[in-house]
């Protein structure tokens, strides 16, 4: 198993290199002069030339990339063109709200969608199931920012319960997290429901009932673990979505996160900030995908045995058993 994890971690290197090359190329080839962005439109030509020389913009693009990545490897993401701050320091401030927003959304998806999906499957075709079918479709189809605007109108403007912007206290986090996850609740509860319905008709569920187990044990223990695979796939893919979606949520709710930082940096052609944001996002999404795959093998021993050699499993499992 550890070999597999190591292999997957090594595979992240080409991913990060690929992403950074593409973004670096796009930024370098797109029009706009960073020196002008820094010194302003009225700067003299000599000052601009000096600035370009200082920034290394006169070097060939591959050399620029090489210099940049060399610094990244020693943990130096450079200085922002627009704010003149160290990029690392900027990210240290901007990353936590985005992480809280993204993983908070993910967590609420898990907490809401899985129990809801189970309940819908157990109460298949009940009025509750039929109503939720429509409600889910509605929330899956509505754009998050629109729901966000409606929520701001209701909860901030009319009722005054929750602040409309910022991300500094828990009450301010409620609306952004709900808005960015509500479509996920809808979609993932449907997926969990469908796979639960499939699983509870399986023969091994009948075997579990024939053992005289309580129905709640049959559902929670025997059915759920088998039904989780499609949900894990979907939630794993939602990680990227939550990160991307955080850009919109941060703009809407005025959160000083990575998404807002990236938008600002793009407008300024602030290459070091953009690059750092992209690389860090890529690493986080790659790690999340790895965690998803590890979750598969935790849930399904058949997948586990594809990863590891048979003998190591036997040892591992026997070890677990004798504990």
């Amino acid at each position: 198993m550890s070999r597999y994890i190591l292999k997957r971690l090594l595979q992240m290197i080409p991913i990060v290199i690929g992403v950074s090359v593409i973004v670096f190329l796009l930024l370098s080839l797109s029009p706009g002069d960073p020196a002008k962005m820094i010194l302003g439109l009225n700067a003299k030509e000599e000052e601009l030339a000096l600035m370009r020389e200082q920034l290394g913009l006169n070097d060939p693009i591959p050399l620029q990339y090489f210099h940049y990545m060399k610094n990244v490897l020693i943990g130096d993401f450079g200085t922002s063109y627009s704010t003149k701050q160290s990029v690392i320091e900027m990210i240290a401030v901007r990353l936590p709200p985005t992480l809280i927003l993204s993983f908070g959304s993910l967590l609420t998806i898990l907490i809401v969608a899985i129990p809801l999906g189970i309940a819908l499957a157990v109460k298949q075709n009940s009025p509750f199931d039929n109503i939720m079918r429509v409600v889910s479709l509605f929330f899956a189809a509505m754009p998050g920012f629109w729901i966000g605007i409606l929520m701001i109108i209701l909860f901030s403007v009319k009722l005054g319960w929750l602040p409309a912007n910022g991300f500094d206290k828990p009450s301010a986090m409620i609306m952004p997290i709900i808005c960015s996850s509500i479509a996920g609740w809808a979609v993932n509860s449907r997926i969990t429901r469908a796979s639960m319905l499939d699983v509870i008709r399986q023969d091994y569920i009948r075997t579990a009932r024939a053992k005289g187990l309580k129905e709640s044990v049959v559902i929670r223990k025997h059915a759920l673990k088998n039904a989780l695979l499609p949900t894990i796939t979907s939630v794993g893919m939602a990680v990227g979505g939550c990160f991307g979606g955080s850009v919109i949520m941060e703009m809407l709710f005025g959160i000083n996160g990575m998404g807002k930082m990236m938008i600002d940096a793009l407008r300024q052609k602030d290459i070091p900030t953009i690059m750092a944001g992209v690389i860090i996002t890529a690493v986080i999404i790659a790690v999340a995908n790895l965690l998803t795959d590890l979750a598969y093998s935790y849930v399904d021993p058949r997948i586990r045995s594809m990863y590891a050699r048979r003998r190591t499993i036997r040892k591992e499992v026997a070890g677990n058993g004798s504990n």
Partner: protein, 332 residues
């Protein structure tokens, strides 16, 4: 005189579907004495499995519903007990082995977990002791202890079925219902599993209901036989009664469709026609469209289930003496 363990009377199970009401089991009566093995034989769709699930209290509801009758275990009517009380009997007093071992085990738990679970559920044992007992059960069904911590996908079909048997026997049930336990297995493995079941039965003196469509299996293992057709029992009696002196034309038909190694015949003589659609059963005797002795009476009236000789029951007008058929021919 042996004690009656299970006494099923007039059990009726119906399924309400969009296409109408399916009468899966219709007034089935059967009884099993302590230590005895009853075979239930019939074609696919005859209602054998539904009868078994009815006894287990596992008929899917909705759409299925037990509409009438009684199921006495000792002297307690299972149909009058609450869901919770029946649940406590399942796996402890009555166990069931299912048809397809490939799908009967949960793929995400080790086999020892799946056996230990039923022990923990019914006996006052800790996880550790239950696991120890589960390993003993595995060894009883001849699976080496070192394979206990493997998952079902690492086992062959025959071994999986033995795990299923171990689960069923883990709490020493008084009644074991085996629903075509060998159908999904290939012939050599079938023999092994049957041998194992016979062995375990003699050791533990468990009563058993063996559901099968294989008369060979019946002759190997059963003391009594009930023949089911279209949700009804058409003939029942001791193994000798059924094999030496089959009364009902359907029973005769079943024997006629088995190849005989001593005779050289070009064709088997199968029963003409198909099992009737259970949502649209024929009037009168359910077997009349396929019966070569059928007359007008059979189309309008349903024969009653009568004792022909002690312990040997059948449901046919020929044996009620109401039809002038010279003799129901023995199978050939």
């Amino acid at each position: 005189m042996q004690k009656t363990l299970l006494d099923v009377k007039d059990l009726t199970i119906k399924f309400r579907t969009d296409d109408g009401v399916v009468e899966a089991v219709n007034k089935v009566s059967l009884s099993v004495q302590e230590g005895e093995t009853l075979g239930i034989v019939g074609e696919t769709g005859a209602g054998k499995t539904t009868t078994a699930l009815g006894i287990m209290g596992l008929v899917d509801s909705p759409p299925g519903k037990i509409e009438g009758g009684s199921i006495l275990l000792d002297d307690t009517d299972l149909l009058k007990l609450g869901e919770e009380a029946v649940r406590k009997l399942r796996g402890k007093e009555i166990s069931m082995i299912f048809q397809d071992p490939m799908t009967s085990l949960n793929p995400v738990f080790t086999v020892v977990e799946q056996i230990a679970e039923v022990i923990v559920n019914h006996q006052q044992l800790g996880e550790k002791e239950a696991e120890q007992k589960a390993i003993e059960m595995l060894e009883l069904v001849r699976i080496p202890a070192e394979r206990a911590y493997e998952y079902p996908h690492q086992f062959s079909g025959g071994m999986k079925q033995r795990v299923v048997i171990a689960i069923a026997l883990a709490c020493n049930p008084r009644l074991l219902i085996a629903d075509e336990p060998t159908t999904a297995l290939d012939v050599t493995i079938q023999a092994q599993v049957l041998e194992l079941m016979k062995d375990l039965k003699t050791k533990s003196k468990t009563s058993m209901i063996m559901i099968t469509h294989d008369l060979g299996v019946v002759s190997e293992i059963c003391d009594k036989v009930a023949i089911m057709y279209a949700g009804e029992i058409v003939e029942s009696g001791s193994l000798e009664d059924i094999f030496e002196n089959p009364l009902h034309p359907y029973t005769n038909g079943l024997f006629g469709s088995i190849p005989d190694i001593d005779k050289e015949v070009e064709f088997l003589s199968p029963i003409e026609g198909l099992v009737p659609d259970p949502s649209d059963l024929p009037s009168g005797c359910k077997f009349h469209p396929r019966c070569k002795y059928a007359q007008h009476l059979c189309r309008v009236e349903d024969p009653s289930f009568r004792e022909y000789s002690p312990g040997h029951f059948t449901k046919c007008f020929v044996h009620e003496g109401k039809l002038s058929v010279k003799e129901v021919k023995k199978y050939e």
